[in-house]
């Protein structure tokens, strides 16, 4: 789960990492009020889960509360890469003498937490890694080992941070690590970390992504979780406990097992079609889960045809078929459906389906071919 910048900064402040003074606003008037409590230049920043806000016009530096209000009215409601801006962060602008990068994330290959520092802040860290890898320093740790201030100082020194800010960065970096571990983050990033002329260090931008699997340990984030995701279908899916991703095509896809569903979507693409979604109903294929999934797919007005791909595995295919038929009937489906069913008692399952409007397919490739043909040409 991605947090908004303002939420990430709240958490960072709680851990003792300084951030610019400011607050989130949902209306231009609120932005005016917040800006009038700040001095000098003020930044108004769109709060959306997408990169490149600045280039899209989602960030404005202004000189007065009036200008902050104007900027907020312009940015609120703006569409950035398909997402509507509903909140802006209004905060004190910081004059930077230097900009750094601090990040903590998971190193999948090394099965560890990796802590990354760079003297090149304010730009995409992947680009820095590609172009000037010598400007990045990394160390790895684990929840048990921890990350102590002396390690943080050594890391910052080796990344070329100004010596003046070493004691502060040492502290803040170990706070960031603690924040990462205690909140079960996947990413906790400060970019840029600004060094001001008077030697203070401030998190000017902040990103935190939390591990969805660990939310049971963090009931305080349950509300954010509810509201997460900008796509209403993805929100609905979460409410229904389904693993769903909205895609751009017109063929609804349901399958059991993430790899199988991905492969199915790839197969549709290979046949010239476009999947409307990824939807994994998980192991087995109980009727009520299929029904739940079908209901969700039908809420997507882009969907013109549906492909159901189930590998029965341990379950008997005739039982799966019965479940599918029941589910399809219960949602009163009038879109064309192709079903592909494999596993124990496969033939019996297929026989059951033959008595319905559902088209049965033999293989995944066959199923993909049929559904694409249907979606392209009608039945």
């Amino acid at each position: 789960m991605k947090l908004h910048e303002y939420q990430a900064k709240e958490i960072m402040r709680r851990y003792g990492i300084p951030t610019p003074k400011g607050q989130v606003a949902q209306t231009p008037d609120e932005a005016y009020r917040i800006a009038s409590e700040l001095e000098g230049h003020v930044v108004v920043k769109a709060q959306v889960h997408v990169g490149g806000r600045g280039k899209a016009g989602g960030i404005s530096v202004v000189k007065s509360p009036e200008e902050a209000k104007e900027a907020a009215s312009r940015i609120l409601g703006m569409n950035i890469k398909g997402l509507t801006v509903r909140k802006v962060l209004v905060e004190q602008a910081v004059e930077a003498e230097d900009e750094y990068y601090l990040g903590v994330t998971i190193d999948r290959s090394r099965k560890a937490i990796v802590i990354i520092a760079s003297s090149e802040g304010g730009v995409d860290i992947e680009e820095v890694a590609a172009k000037t890898p010598e400007k990045i320093s990394k160390v790895r740790s684990t929840p048990k080992e921890g990350f102590m201030p002396w390690q943080a100082r050594a890391l910052a020194l080796s990344a070329g941070f100004d010596r003046r800010c070493i004691p502060q960065v040492g502290a803040y970096f170990s706070y960031l690590f603690r924040l990462f571990v205690e909140n079960d983050a996947e990413l906790a990033e400060i970019n840029p970390l600004m060094l001001t002329e008077d030697g203070r260090v401030i998190a000017a931008d902040a990103k935190i992504t939390l591990d969805d699997n660990a939310l049971f340990r963090h009931p305080e984030y349950a509300e954010l979780w509810e509201a997460e995701g900008d796509d209403p279908l993805e929100q609905e899916a979460r409410r229904r406990g389904l693993t769903y991703v909205k895609l751009n095509g017109d063929i609804g896809v349901i399958g059991n097992g993430a790899g199988l569903v991905m492969a199915t979507i790839d197969a549709i693409k290979a046949e010239g079609g476009e999947a409307a979604n990824f939807l994994d109903i998980g192991g087995g294929a109980r009727a009520e889960v299929v029904q739940n999934a079908l209901e969700l797919i039908l809420m997507d007005k882009d969907v013109k045809a549906i492909l159901i791909n189930v590998f029965g595995g341990i379950t008997r295919c005739d039982e799966v078929a019965q479940g599918l038929i029941k589910a399809i009937e219960s949602v009163d489906l009038d879109l064309p459906v192709v079903v592909r069913l494999v596993g124990t008692r496969e033939k019996e399952g297929r026989a059951l389906l033959s008595g319905t409007s559902v088209v049965a397919a033999d293989t995944m490739v066959d199923a993909a071919k049929r559904i694409v043909a249907i979606a392209r040409g009608g039945m």
């Binding site: 999948r108 660990a214 991703v245 993430a258 790899g259 991905m262």
Partner: protein, 297 residues
């Protein structure tokens, strides 16, 4: 023969009195009655599950029943505890079926396992387990789809693997060992570990590797394969997945420019590994390879 598990594997099922644990413990025992020796559920020591003795601790299962492998079905919040207990009690291989374990718990349990000594191995978590065909099944894979034969199968997914195995079996191509390594971002046993073992395994002549988007496991595997003597066929799912979205598996995500299908397909290509575009093509490629290599079975 085969890798990691064989007829000498002695399984304790942690979480045996749960719905899943019980169901699959019995299915594993059906596959080879010698291999399932005990179950563990704290507070249920002294009971049994259709004749399989249940203990309060893994330590008792090791001491009294000679368990050397644990198959874990406990809920995700208890998984780290179960894995660490297993290794601390003398278990050498943990097959962790449980899905939804927080990544930091996985890192922590692997860290503690590593400190437990050499030769300890975790398969998974969030995996369907492992089967050495005809000898032992440790996990939840549908055993009836497997046929004995010379092909090792490694995969990050479950049902997609069954799909491929079914197609191989249907074409008369049997399997040596099939491992689901799991779909999480951090897992105990990577493709490379499996490839190393298959390279040494006399029962295996060729390997099918079923990868997907996310991470760099496939790229590392490609680089390893270029030094292998045995042929490998690869498949990568998620080619059309949008960046930044998790495709069901917690680990199946393209982050920035990391973990794309293109990168993986390219790495395999550069290592001279044939990449199948469809599941059917996997079988065609394997069939082609096997005509060139010695078949032990």
């Amino acid at each position: 023969m085969g890798i990691f598990v064989d007829k000498n594997t002695r399984i304790v099922v942690q979480g045996i009195t749960g719905r899943e644990g019980r169901f699959h413990a019995l299915r594993m025992r059906d596959y080879n009655p010698e291999t399932v020796v005990a179950g563990v559920t704290p507070g249920r020591g002294g009971q049994d599950v259709e004749g399989i003795p249940v203990f309060d601790t893994v330590s008792e299962a090791v001491k009294q029943c000679g368990a050397n492998t644990s198959c874990i079905f406990v809920p995700s919040r208890a998984a780290r505890d179960a894995v660490v207990e297993a290794f601390a009690s003398g278990i050498e291989l943990v097959v962790c079926i449980t899905e939804g374990i927080p990544t930091l718990d996985v890192i922590d349990m692997l860290d503690k396992a590593k400190n437990g000594g050499q030769g300890l191995r975790v398969i998974g978590p969030n995996c369907p387990g492992i089967i050495t065909v005809g000898e032992v099944s440790c996990g939840i894979m549908p055993t009836q789809i497997f046929r004995p034969g010379p092909v090792g199968v490694i995969s990050r997914s479950g049902t997609l693997t069954y799909e491929v195995v079914s197609l191989l079996s249907a074409r008369g191509i049997g399997q040596s060992t099939c491992i689901g390594i799991g779909g999480d971002p951090v897992i105990g046993t990577s493709f490379v570990h499996c490839l190393e073992a298959f390279e040494e395994d006399d029962a295996t002549s060729a390997v099918v590797l079923i990868g997907e988007i996310g991470g760099r496991d496939e790229e590392e595997a490609a680089s390893f394969i270029s030094n292998m003597t045995k042929p490998v066929v690869a498949f990568v799912s998620g080619r059309t997945a949008p960046p930044g979205k998790r495709m069901g598996h917690a680990g199946a995500i393209v982050s920035g420019s990391m973990g794309t299908a293109e990168s993986k397909v390219k790495a395999f290509g550069e290592a001279g590994v044939p990449v199948a575009d469809t599941v059917n093509e996997i079988v065609d490629l394997v069939a082609g390879l096997l005509t060139d290599v010695k078949m032990p079975m």
